[in-house]
Symmetry: C2
Amino acid sequence: MIKATVYVTIKQSVLDPQGKAAQSALQALGFDEVEEVRIGKYIELELNTADQAAAEARVKEMCEKLLVNTVIEDYRYELSEAQEREGVR
Amino acid sequence: MIKATVYVTIKQSVLDPQGKAAQSALQALGFDEVEEVRIGKYIELELNTADQAAAEARVKEMCEKLLVNTVIEDYRYELSEAQEREGVR
C-alpha cells in the first residue's frame, strides 16, 4: 500500500478569491500581519500497489487527467509507504 | 516575513464526499488501484512579522477562529522564513 500526497496550489498569476476572502476575514478579526493568503488542496490517496515507480507515473497521470486543472493550478506530490491505520477511523 | 503553511484534513471519522467523488471518478478512469481519496486544504499565509514564536501562537489562533472547523477537521502547520518572490506573480 502506497500513500500519495498531492499538493495543489493556484498559480501565482491567477487570482485566488477564496484566499482573498480568508485574508479579509483574518484582517477583520485583527490579524493585521496577514499579507497574503492562498488556499490550495491537499489530497491524500491510498494506492493498492507496492511498485513505487509505477505508482509515481500513475499519480502524475491522475493529477493531469482529473485532480488538477493545470491551466490555473500547479501541483507536486510525494509518495510514501502507507502506515497501518490505528483505532477509530 | 514568515510563511505559514497550514494543512487542513477532514477527520478520519467524518465522511469526505468530495474525496469519495474523486475516488469514483478515478476508478471510472481506470485507476483501479485507488483505495481511498481524502481531500483537504493547503493554506499558505504570509505574515509580516519576524517573531517566529509569536507567529506560531497567532497562526494557531487563526486556525481555531477562522481557517479550520475543528469539529470535523484536523490541522497542522509549519512556519518558515518567507523567500523573496521571483519574477511574475
